[in-house]
Symmetry: D2
């Protein structure tokens, strides 16, 4: 397994510089593990994401999956904040309860132009996923030309 | 064309009662038009959704698409707040600039158990869509049994 | 509306040369109309595609949608047989009866590297679509560089 | 792990009876393993599926993925030939070479009304998948009511 192109601390630093309105201390998102093409991130529970019945909103899960993919892209390509999502497909499987969400992203293809991955989202402490995502990122033209 | 099962005012009232943490005056979402199986909603511009380069975040568009579909479901099925998204697929097409986003949802199938639709998202004043979404909602068991 | 980069006769000729095992007289697929980024193709009915209940198989519709997108790519990019599908998402809406299938493909984005479109599939003579598809093609590196 | 609701021989027998035009000796599809919610199927190589460059067509992979999901549905629900695909999303990752394709389907959710799964398709002998699929089947109303 190759060494990741950036570690968790480096990715946190990059995100805080590039996305200060989105990723800041207290935003509720954190990075738990960064291996090459394989990362885990977390959404800390917040009452604002709760929906009737005590579940967490779909857009909260979509945002978490997109964040997990973005971190996974950094793990293989280094600091490419201009990488953009081109496609995201989510299947909602079960209603998460009140609690943190954990997302495991794994890249299925690391191409020169496209990076494809899947993300499984879990409600902390539950064995079955609450959502499953596949997503494609498009790399900026110059980035991966030497890979 | 059948009359919509709920009009915009009725849907606004329902959403404020059921989702007070999500849909409230000043939340940035509004309903512009409700026909049967065909609705338009709007995301008012807010600096918090801006990303580097002056564009609007992907999760903001996913949330808007999901909201548009939810309103479209109400337009055919009436007050069914327990309808849930089972699948959402989004293709990001162009980067929206700083400005409102407008989403047009059109239902492709209104079944007893599943409702399928597509959503085109536009940056206000631009002719080409910034994103295209297809999505499926699952209806609660009792709701559509007489349709 | 720009003139299409290839007309139907030119596309038929290209397909017969490049894909003689797939596209030949009697294969059941035909091209009905080619405008720029907007085409119609047809799958002629054949007993081999029938499934229990007298409907047509899902893979038959997926193949037709992929073919429609391929023809639409030619309409904007000219002869690029090495363009490849990277993603296809299909929602099956209604069971088609015994009869021809007609597919209308419309491109949503024509980029240098990615072309995104949607396809609506109809059972001949029926007003409501039997399936809806979105799909992305990746263009070969050299093809669209002057567009 | 529960015992599968049908084993491979029982599924082969059912498919031959219900889909004699699709699944017959020599059709090129076979079932290699059936565990509960987890199956492997195979597409034997045939020249008819070859495309320019010596690769295998996308529709061949879509058909194989749909077949794998269908067998996986039987593994949890027993003989339900009227189960139907409602959604299929495929990402094409690498071009398969000339050779058999193997598809591993794993169910992510077995609900009363919807069954969701993912399928990884491999070119025999290669470690990286050539395509990744997620798909949803809708169960006939009466089938899963006692589950």
């Amino acid at each position: 397994m190759p060494v990741p192109a950036m570690n968790a601390d480096e990715i946190v630093k990059l995100l805080r510089e590039e996305f200060p309105q989105f990723f800041y201390p207290g935003c509720g998102l954190s990075i738990e593990r960064v291996d090459y093409a394989n990362v885990r991130v977390r959404r800390h529970f917040h009452e604002d994401s709760v929906r009737p019945g005590g579940t967490i909103s779909g857009p909260t899960m979509m945002e978490l999956a997109d964040f997990a993919m973005y971190v996974a892209v950094f793990s293989v390509a280094g600091p490419v904040p201009m990488a953009v999502t081109t496609n995201l497909n989510i299947n909602f499987l079960r209603k998460p309860g009140r609690g943190d969400l954990v997302a495991d992203a794994k890249l299925l293809k690391v191409g020169k132009r496209l990076v494809v991955g899947e993300v499984a989202i879990y409600s902390e402490g539950e064995p079955e996923p609450v959502a499953h995502v596949t997503s494609t990122y498009s790399m900026p033209p110059q980035v991966l030309q030497y890979h």
